[in-house]
Structures are given as structure tokens and as C-alpha cells.
Symmetry: C2
């Protein structure tokens, strides 16, 4: 009798796809042992430029095709690994694979964040599975814990550093005192930031990942568009200096909380206590802190991107899919939807705030500022006032507030901006406990 084999098709041979191709070929023996059946790479869908890569030169050329129809017609292909990235054509290919009854593994955060529920539905209909551990946090186990290890918990909150590029930039700004532009340039030189860095530095990438984690944690559909978002490009050196002085680090945090079926999801810079574990997560590392009602606080830390860490997660998912195929079961877990959950409007959140104002250096200014806050019951926990520019006769006022409502705070900012004595609202950053 011919031994059963599990056939794998790979779409994409870029950074992630190349890493996956290497792992599937270099350690076929190890993976076969973990599955219990041989895993065989059957076909790789590439685009023309991929064929010039050194890796493509090393591999058997009959594995490659640039034609999607040919790829999908490959016999004995049980699993399709999508490592193309971006919304299209990845989404189309994933649907095609599922419709053809193939199990799919993907590292595509954008597609899962935007269309995860639809893909999981399609998989259920076809009796197959969708595996997406690599879509968030590279090789750090993050999807599996929510699908398995933490299932008995009601999740209260997620606090995550899930974009390595911005964390690298913030780390350099904090350590070297350089400004955003220089830190970004350094990140680009090192290959940590792309030529067009918007997706990372404006927090878009983080909203995809947060939408996925929040959907799993709260068993509801959180769309990336539901996530309030601010990037890091407007942070100044001065904020880092004040943060240090006040005992904080500045991080781009992805936050998701649930209370009374209201789900709060936001990505923005925060002041975070410098002795907290998240404050110590430096450079391109990622960390996700989860608060569950049984488990308490658990934290997952590691490299959140890169060819090897991501291929670790993809290969684990390929093994999981292959085991499920061998057992003849579809993947049991997914987004199951609890009814009645709503997204909390940003105006209704509560936070503490850090506020830096450039003001006219004359008596009574602080009193005016205090009145604007006090009128809205926003109470001040500390103030620093110091001369900013002797010639221009301006001073800088830095205020930390006690917890206050976002709507009240935005209204206060509106009135402050109108005050003649205020030259500029230089910074406005939320503070996490």
C-alpha cells in the first residue's frame, strides 16, 4: 500500500514565503515526525521577480508556477499556505483554496482582520480549516492561547506592543534622544521600516493585529475600522524627556478591553509606568499582556516579525492542519460570535492624560488652564511649568490628570486651543496604569 502523504502548496516567495519554503524543505524530516505522515511541498506560486532570488535558484524549478490556475490544479495538494500579504489577490486565492476543499494557512493580518469571519465560515461549510497564528506577533504563540489555553477565561483586557518598527523607533528616541525623523531613518537603514513607513508608524498594521486578537478574545467581530488609531509621528523629544522625569516610558500600545459587553479598541501612544514589564520591551520585540479573570495577567514576548519567526508560526500551523487532515477533522476553533456586543465609542473611554502646552509666560495662565479642566471635572495630579523661550516669552506647562472621560478631555482641548494665552497644544498623550 502506498503511504499517505500530505501535500502542501505555497503562494508567495517573498520574505515570509521564502522562510516557509526553506523550513518546509530543510526540515521535512522533523515536520514529518511531528505530523506522523510525510509532508511534501508540491507547488509554489510565484511572481516573475521571485524567480531571480537565490532561494529560487536552489530549488527544483518544476515546483514553480506563475499561473494561479496551474497552481490550483496541482494534484495531491491538501494545504495551501498563503504568504503573499496584502488584501488582493490574497483574499481571492484563499477563498478559491477553501472552496476547493483545501485547508489554508496564512500569515496575512490584513485579510484575517478584514475577512476572517467570512473565511472561517467558508471553511466550516467545506469541512476544512483556516490557521493564522503567523498573522499576529510572528512566532509568538498568540492565536493558539486564545483558541485553546485561555478559553475558560473571560478576558478583561489586552495591552500589546505588536509593531516592531514603531517600537524600535520609540526605543531609539528614548535612548538616544533623537527625533522621530532620525529614528525612522535609522530603522529604514536597518530594514526595520519600509521606504513608505505609513502602515507601521501611523498604527495601521497594529489595528489589523488588534482587531484579530480582540475578535478572538471577546468572541465578537472587531473590524480594523472599529479601532481608534493614532500613530507616533507627532511625538517629540521633549515628551520623552518629561516621560522619564515623571517615571514613564512612551510606547505605541494596542489596547482592547471589554466591560458589560462594550468592547473598547484603540491604538495610540501611551505613557506607561517605567517599572512595568511592557515598558521594558525594547527594540523590535513584541509583547502582549492579557488579563483573564481566572489566569490573572499573562504576558507573551518575542520577535514579532521576520522571516524565521514568522515561518516558525506558519510551519506550526501546517503541522496542525496536517494533523487535522490525518485525523479527518476540520479545525475546531475560530471566531465564535457572542451576541449583543458593541464597540464603545472613543468619546466614552476613560483615561489619565498627559498634556504639554506652549503658553505665554505671564501670570495667571496656569489658572486659566486649570479652570478649563476644572469646569469639566478633570482633576490634575501633577503640573510642571518652566520657561520655554526667553525671547519669545513663552513657557511650557506639562499636566498629568487623574482619570477623566475622553469627551470631557476633547472638549477641554477645544477650549484650550481657543485661549489667547495658549500658543500651542504641543502634545496630548493618554496614560495607562
Amino acid at each position: 500500500m502506498k503511504e499517505r502523504k500530505i501535500g502542501v502548496g505555497l503562494m508567495g516567495l517573498g520574505v515570509v514565503g521564502g522562510g516557509v519554503a526553506r523550513v518546509l524543505t530543510d526540515r521535512a524530516g522533523l515536520l514529518t515526525e511531528r505530523v506522523g505522515l510525510p509532508l511534501v511541498l508540491r507547488k509554489v506560486k510565484v511572481i516573475e521577480p521571485d524567480l531571480a532570488r537565490p532561494l529560487a535558484q536552489e530549488m527544483d524549478s518544476s515546483l514553480f508556477t506563475t499561473d494561479a490556475d496551474e497552481f490550483f490544479a496541482t494534484p495531491g495538494m491538501d494545504i495551501v499556505v498563503e504568504a503573499i500579504g496584502g488584501e488582493e489577490p490574497a483574499l481571492r486565492y484563499l477563498k478559491r483554496a477553501l472552496s476547493a476543499g483545501k485547508y489554508v494557512v496564512t500569515s496575512n493580518k490584513e485579510v484575517i482582520a478584514k475577512h476572517g469571519a467570512e473565511l472561517l465560515d467558508l471553511a466550516r461549510q467545506r469541512g476544512v480549516g483556516v490557521y493564522f497564528e503567523a498573522s499576529v506577533g510572528g512566532g509568538i504563540p498568540l492565536i493558539a492561547p486564545f483558541q485553546h489555553s485561555l478559553v475558560a477565561n473571560r478576558i478583561a483586557g489586552i495591552y500589546a506592543i505588536i509593531n516592531g518598527t514603531t517600537n524600535y523607533i520609540l526605543t531609539r528616541m528614548a535612548r538616544d534622544g533623537v527625533d522621530f525623523t532620525s529614528a525612522l531613518k535609522k530603522a529604514q537603514e536597518l530594514g526595520y521600516a519600509e521606504a513608505n513607513p505609513e502602515n507601521d508608524v501611523e498604527g495601521i498594521d497594529a489595528t489589523y493585529k488588534l482587531a484579530i486578537l480582540a475578535s478572538l478574545a471577546f468572541q465578537t467581530q472587531v473590524h480594523p475600522g472599529d479601532v481608534y488609531r493614532e500613530g507616533i509621528s507627532r511625538l517629540s523629544n521633549r515628551d520623552f524627556r518629561y516621560a522619564r522625569e515623571l517615571g514613564y516610558a512612551i510606547k505605541l500600545l494596542a489596547i482592547a478591553k471589554e466591560e458589560n459587553k462594550e468592547v473598547e479598541v484603540r491604538v495610540h501612544p501611551v505613557f506607561i509606568a517605567e517599572d512595568s514589564l511592557l515598558a521594558k520591551v525594547d527594540g523590535v520585540y513584541n509583547a502582549v499582556l492579557v488579563e483573564g479573570d481566572l489566569v490573572g495577567k499573562v504576558l507573551f514576548f518575542g520577535e514579532g516579525a521576520g522571516a524565521l519567526p514568522t515561518s516558525s508560526a506558519v510551519a506550526a500551523d501546517v503541522v496542525a492542519a496536517a494533523r487535522d487532515i490525518a485525523l479527518g477533522v476540520s479545525s475546531g476553533a475560530g471566531f465564535s460570535l457572542e451576541p449583543g456586543k458593541v464597540i464603545k465609542p472613543m468619546a466614552e473611554i476613560e483615561s489619565r492624560y498627559y498634556l504639554r502646552l506652549n503658553v505665554a509666560d505671564r501670570p495667571g495662565v496656569l489658572a486659566q488652564v486649570s479652570r478649563v479642566l476644572g469646569d469639566r471635572l478633570i482633576s490634575i495630579s501633577s503640573v510642571i511649568q518652566q520657561l520655554a523661550d526667553e525671547v519669545a516669552q513663552t513657557a511650557e506647562i506639562v499636566i498629568m490628570t487623574h482619570p477623566a472621560g475622553e469627551a470631557a478631555m476633547q472638549s477641554a482641548l477645544g477650549e484650550l486651543a481657543e485661549l489667547p494665552v495658549i500658543k500651542e497644544i504641543s502634545s496630548f498623550i493618554r496614560v495607562e496604569a
Copy 2:
């Protein structure tokens, strides 16, 4: 048609068992939703004293039995949760459950460390599964990552703080400058240490957990007896003071490494760089750092014990077992054994060392000490020498070495102990990079 239900039997109603009973009853709805079939608690095996507990008073008394035969005769019991702890009768009950074709979930680190391979074999023969996420690190996902998320990796090393009691004691010694005895007393008052603390403070508990993690990580059978072990009871205040001065924290670390099929497993106090993440893990928290060849460094952090965190892991395992039962599959993962791996003798390990000596305060002593080390090619990276006791005319010498072999170091310690100018080898602690 009658809807299928998954029946659960629970053995033990102590701290862990009580927590599990609460979770299974209080959130039956949530668990049922996660499984897709109703989970029903059928029977609880207790010992007489358990029946007096408030929890037992709240529960339906017909659930209880003190008789193991009656427990095992309960109809419709698909899963047995063992929360008794200790080697016997837990092992006997687990074998009995498996032999009767029941899936078992256990939080019993001692049984899994000593008899895990045997139990997994028995489960395989009967087509059922053994689930033991709760045996290490409370609710922190640690077993699942090795069985699933990290399977494509070759694991190079594990560095773990996996005993909350000792970490609490070391944290107090470091922060408050108190000695071991006072810190232990405080831990006992707070319920973090038992009346007889030996199992924790001598590192025995940590060897069980490390044996389990190393067996999974390296796919070989590591017995607790294979683990080199030193506890924390001989650490002195002075060591903490020098550690701080030299830029280190002191932690009880469980270390497992593999190189060339040689597995190194040890539990002992270490000096660890104070800016490392593990150095920041304080109080009763646990953390496990794993180094994989693809994933790089990943760290898992959380509460490593307690009724709620442990019941989070047990309940997740019950859900996993129930899903497997519903799908009609046995648990796919376990210890699979790679041939040819051996335990590296402690004498062959390499480390850096911290050495504190009480010596006669007279010229030439340091030269003698240096000669003993130099003769064995152990090179010194830093030395502190200071007066210890003017009346007794003794000095203290603190030496940090470069990496050296353990055998050479032990031989040096032997010769140093014989030198007339050396009053005492006060401390000898390994240093982790």
C-alpha cells in the same frame, strides 16, 4: 434524539480541585459553548475532610463520593480530572481511568514528571488522551506551545523561573535586605510557602517542572532525578549586596539546553544580568524563556500557581479533551522520543562563576587564590577584596570568573578549601549570561 453530553469526573477538592469544581459549575455555559456540547460534572471523589469545606456545602451532595470504586463506576463519565497531587494514589487513579478508556486531565507535576511517558503510552494504547497544561506554570500556556506552536523549532534552551515560593523569597531578600529565614517566614505567613517548605526551597518542585518542559522541548525522557539541583536556603544577604553592586539579580533558575544530542538540565541559584527580562520577574510570578532556532527568544510570563490560574489551565484541558472526544480522536501530541539523546553530566557543563571567600587578611592571599584558579585555566574577570572583620583579621574576596568547566571549578573549590589562609568558601553561585 437525546443530545450528547460530555461527562466529567473530578478527583480531589483541595485548592486546585475546588477551583476546578467552581469553574466547571459556575461557567458551564461558557465551556459548553466553547466545546459545542454540554459539559456535565458527574461525580467528585473527595476525602472526608473535603466535605466540611464551604464549597462542598454549596454543591449538590449527591455529587460526592469518598469511594474510588463508586467514582469509577459513575455512568457517562468521559473525562477524569485528577487534582489530588502527589505520587500516590494519584498515579494509580490515573492509570485506572486510562485503562477504563477515559480521557484524563491532570495538574500533577510529580506524576507527569516521573511517569508521563508511561501514562501517554497507556493513553495511546486505549485511544484516549492525557492533558497536563496545569502541571507547569499554573495558567501560563507552556505545554501547548511545545506541543503545537513551537513544533517546527529545534529548541536550544529553556531558562525558567518556575517556582513562585522561591521567587517570592528571593524578591524579598533582594528588596528588603532580609535574610532567608525571615523572608521564608513572611512567605509562610502569606500562604506562599508551606509549613514544610523543603519541596520548594530546595528546588525539588522546580525539577519536576523542568523535567516535563525538557522532555517536551527535546523530545526525550528527562527524569526529575536527571536534573542537577541546588536550593536557595544557603544564600546570604551579602550575596545580594554583591550581586547588585556587580549589576546582577539572584534568581532560582531552571535551565535546560541541548547541544549535539546532549541535554543539560539543572536547577540552582544564578546571578543574572539585572537588565534582563527574567531579572525583572518578581514576587510569586513565573516566567519561562525559550530559545528556538526559528522563533528566537520567546518568553511566557504569569502567575505560576493558585486555585484560579491553575483551574484556567485545567478547564482549557477539559475543553480540549471534550473537543477531541466530540471529534472521536485521541490527543495527537505527547512525548515522542528521539533516539540517542543523553543527559550531560554536571561536571561537563560550562558556566561563569561567582565565588565569595572568607580569608585571612594578610598579603599574598589573593595570589594563592589566583594560582589555584589559574592552574586550572579558570580566568578571573573581576575581583573585589575588602576587610571583613578587623578583630578576627579576616577579609572577603569576591571573584567573578570567565566561562570555565564545572569539573575544573569543583576541583579548584576542593583545593581552595584546603588552603590554610581560607577560612570559608562562603558562596559559590553560577552566572548566566
